[in-house]
Symmetry: D3
Subunit: 240 residues, 6 copies
Amino acid sequence: MQRPSGRNPNQLRDITFTRNFTCHAEGSVLVSFGNTRVICTASVEEGVPRFMRGEGRGWVTAEYGMLPRSTDTRMGREAARGKQGGRTVEIQRLIGRSLRAALDLELLGENTITIDCDVIQADGGTRTASITGACVALVDAINFLQRKKVIQTDPLRQMIASVSVGMFEGEPVLDLDYPEDFAADTDMNVVMGESGSFIEVQGTAEGAHFAREELNAMLDLASEGIASLVSMQKAALAEG
Amino acid sequence: MQRPSGRNPNQLRDITFTRNFTCHAEGSVLVSFGNTRVICTASVEEGVPRFMRGEGRGWVTAEYGMLPRSTDTRMGREAARGKQGGRTVEIQRLIGRSLRAALDLELLGENTITIDCDVIQADGGTRTASITGACVALVDAINFLQRKKVIQTDPLRQMIASVSVGMFEGEPVLDLDYPEDFAADTDMNVVMGESGSFIEVQGTAEGAHFAREELNAMLDLASEGIASLVSMQKAALAEG
Amino acid sequence: MQRPSGRNPNQLRDITFTRNFTCHAEGSVLVSFGNTRVICTASVEEGVPRFMRGEGRGWVTAEYGMLPRSTDTRMGREAARGKQGGRTVEIQRLIGRSLRAALDLELLGENTITIDCDVIQADGGTRTASITGACVALVDAINFLQRKKVIQTDPLRQMIASVSVGMFEGEPVLDLDYPEDFAADTDMNVVMGESGSFIEVQGTAEGAHFAREELNAMLDLASEGIASLVSMQKAALAEG
Amino acid sequence: MQRPSGRNPNQLRDITFTRNFTCHAEGSVLVSFGNTRVICTASVEEGVPRFMRGEGRGWVTAEYGMLPRSTDTRMGREAARGKQGGRTVEIQRLIGRSLRAALDLELLGENTITIDCDVIQADGGTRTASITGACVALVDAINFLQRKKVIQTDPLRQMIASVSVGMFEGEPVLDLDYPEDFAADTDMNVVMGESGSFIEVQGTAEGAHFAREELNAMLDLASEGIASLVSMQKAALAEG
Amino acid sequence: MQRPSGRNPNQLRDITFTRNFTCHAEGSVLVSFGNTRVICTASVEEGVPRFMRGEGRGWVTAEYGMLPRSTDTRMGREAARGKQGGRTVEIQRLIGRSLRAALDLELLGENTITIDCDVIQADGGTRTASITGACVALVDAINFLQRKKVIQTDPLRQMIASVSVGMFEGEPVLDLDYPEDFAADTDMNVVMGESGSFIEVQGTAEGAHFAREELNAMLDLASEGIASLVSMQKAALAEG
Amino acid sequence: MQRPSGRNPNQLRDITFTRNFTCHAEGSVLVSFGNTRVICTASVEEGVPRFMRGEGRGWVTAEYGMLPRSTDTRMGREAARGKQGGRTVEIQRLIGRSLRAALDLELLGENTITIDCDVIQADGGTRTASITGACVALVDAINFLQRKKVIQTDPLRQMIASVSVGMFEGEPVLDLDYPEDFAADTDMNVVMGESGSFIEVQGTAEGAHFAREELNAMLDLASEGIASLVSMQKAALAEG
């Protein structure tokens, strides 16, 4: 088997994190998974949504968008169409849930962190890149809160990261780019914590199906990939 | 460990399928998973959406809704609020993808089957009940098309069914009702075909995480449950 | 003259009320007018809308919807289209106004009862069936409030019920089903109280017109039909 | 009994029709029922909506709006709020149905006439003034079509007009202004053709009810009032 | 050069102001610039929007709309389409900004004046007519506040007025009607105060461009026209 | 006078153009005016909007957006709120009109170029940076069409560029950053062609006004600034 990208089955794309990519946000990271590039910002705000007030816990929520020409063919702008599409909604809910697993919301106090993931260039795996980059921005925002003495605690429970895996010509492969994703039978997005436990597993066989052993092989690959991603996140955070 | 429902860990709720529940649809099934009750209808229409025209393949799509007072507290009506919520969108996309895996869309010809899943009473597991009931309605609609000689083929590849599994007080349990779902750490929805292969796996640990062995135990339980559900679907279809 | 349904001109369809049809609502009634079937629920909530606060009076409001495949041809889902159609809005305003005439809102205190009428199968007369079924659900909700000692009074002034009448081949007929409604020149929906007084009269001659004597004959028929409906409502409420 | 307006029970307000009020529309009438003033325009367009194409019949439809400060307190602009309210939708459907009863749509050919009723000053009875004024604008538009030889026939079957009646302190009164409408127990809008037949009867007893004799008395009054209105419409059309 | 309207290059159309055009608003003016006719109302409300509360300053805001058949071809009603178009939004923002320059908002106190400009007949220059007419309505509303002793001060800093200028066949012309606007290369809307200073200058060369001297010539013409308009505003306000 | 930025009155910020910033669009430029950074892409599509079909001319249109955290305080995402704000609509209409003045649309043939300007970091002047950067992207897209032989002509009439000017403490200043814009009395955005002619002039004195000499001084400064910007655009296009 030969991957369209020429990579080994268990090989990630080139991964980079550019911290402080924009100047206003408390956390701002440009993440690249190969040609997939996403601006992830973390915005801190005092207070929590109405339904949580007075409980002493914080909140993390996420929004996701793609620039209209981040893809090969221009997509209509969601703001102009007047609503977010189903895929967008699904992804931003996934990002929010995943990042809430990184924090102890009690220790965050009644503060809200809003994550914005805006894809400026897409080549497959935008949701996994978003989660992985957003976790770095989230840590920068937490550091900001500590530096400003808004919180005296450390709400970070663990780094989390995400990667896609799939079955390509009968073999499990890691971190699919767009042509690989398009050709694969099965696509699975996995979110894990640095301890190796699962946060989200979303496997889809659009019009097909996959066996238990295939599932197992894909999960093995995902675990390995996420361990590498967490190392890279930590290295990026160690700088500057 | 004692489940709130008093069921054994691997015990499904009482499952019933009432076919021909309403009179207009080509397939109409009232499905009950215990107190969760969903009206699933399959509506047949000639032709396919614009983006598929002329390719000779059919299409299956789904919509999902909850009656405002299907739940303990009345929810706002989505039609009145002017948009479907994120959870609704997520669920109806899942139902559509799952059911497309039941059919060979080539053999369906350029016909569209629209699945409507309307929850009239909710007690956990509305999406898994919807998928499981909708597959029965789908088969009735296929039979209608064959009886009317619209198609001469059999596009049904396999029955599909769905069930939830979760970790409750450290043990894997099958088919969670609402109080169990609320108390569980992890919730996983699994869609499988009658052959035992996976179509969708969606595991979520809202604010928590789960280990690989827990994942494995939950998948074992799901496989077992889905095998039972497929038997019941077939028994229901064998009647009348 | 022979009605399409074979009924006598002054004959109602088979009418049934199934109370406690769903388990969460304070009042829940499945009403059938022949093949027209509507789930009517009454939901009780403390407080009233902002514009009425502090006046000591209660409020009754209604929402109406049709499941997409309650009709012969599937209709687009209003939640998906992002707005309720004009007919929906017109009907739910009628239901709300009608039911407010059943109660003394002063005696209800500052509580709101929301009526949901969801048509699961349509064969003409969905608005009259909705009003007639909803009044039974409303009484169950009032009984709930009394049982829970939320109110010590009896706000029910009178039962109300509704039926359609029309001119079919020159003769007045009662309780039109869909084929009769389609063929009739004039369609009138009447809401009356058990005392025989009028609450709403809505007569429409789409593209036609009707004479004063025809109007009189239709109103006579409606009075007779509503008296029967009120008896059936009371019989249903006397059970259990 | 003394009406707030000082009028006799069967006395209309001052009624005026100003034809050619604006210059672009095929029919344009400013109608006044006392202080209620509505601009009614009729716009002619070739063709009919998709669902009627090829049947050879024409179509009449209506839209209704109120300028934000046509009322005592400024109302939010519906265009800014992004949707038409329920009352607006109800009224414009009534206007459209009523005017379709004025024409033989077969004789109109495949042409559409759109009626716009825009209330610039409101003092009760805006819907009845709208219908009455719009019928004059409709005739002007029909005349335009004949003059331009678009149609060789006369599609006008009859003039139609509309008026409100109500029960005020136990007596039936005609053509209620806003203070009278506010104080009345029952409000009924009647649309009739010049032959004296009914097109629409909409009686509402918000929170109250009315007896059969009261209904009869109100309908008598309405018949009388509409006969006068039709005379005034014809006089206005006879000018210029 | 001959203008389509036959007017001299520096000649305004016939300008009229009808005060108290409708009866409910605190200021109500029908303004005509030739065939362009706009109803301008000023509505006074106690209080200011949330973002300004407690600062002691007042607010002026504006909304703009066109009746569907104010133009040669009927436009879709914005309320029915569910949103205001880009041109509408642009114009109402311009009207609001312009009128705020007429007042000292400190002296207005925490009161809001909402300006509604509704075009009932359009023939070019609807935004300039709106601003010019609205300023008269605004003064009437200020007078109302003074008469009612809501304010003891005079917040009016200066009258403001607006006119369009353009380049037509190489020559600058004043106050373009629709055919002139359509044929002109450049269209500029100017808002000035009575002292001769600029409030807004918006020059647009759709698909073309204009030289500095042309700009200068157009501004000269605008200054002259606005001086005349202010005189007419003052004359209108001096009456009755 | 000392500008907050410390720049000379006639000094532009640091201006950079990064061509081919993203890989999918036919033209993609990251433009920086100091800390204001905008991604401008030009997307080419065959065909034109319906209202222009068959006329042989091309079309240029623009959309504008700001990432939620491009500003100091996070703004709500327009896609999530379900509509574009008035400011957004105003700006994207301005960008589209300006760029249409750069091209001879006849020579473009029936092709559409859609410009997307997405602000990733805002510090004042986002609309002027957008227009200036978009023109470079537009030229790259034109070059693409020529290279692909879609067009054999050169539709570029002239480079266009845009800059803001304002009155700050009584003196005219060029290219205002956010703190300067906030403090200035008057803000004017000017769009000019490389020949020195005007395309758009939009001067606003929110709550203030400016004299003719001030207007002249600001226009002088704008002409000078735009001449520099055009030189930089050309230098950027000359590379690679």
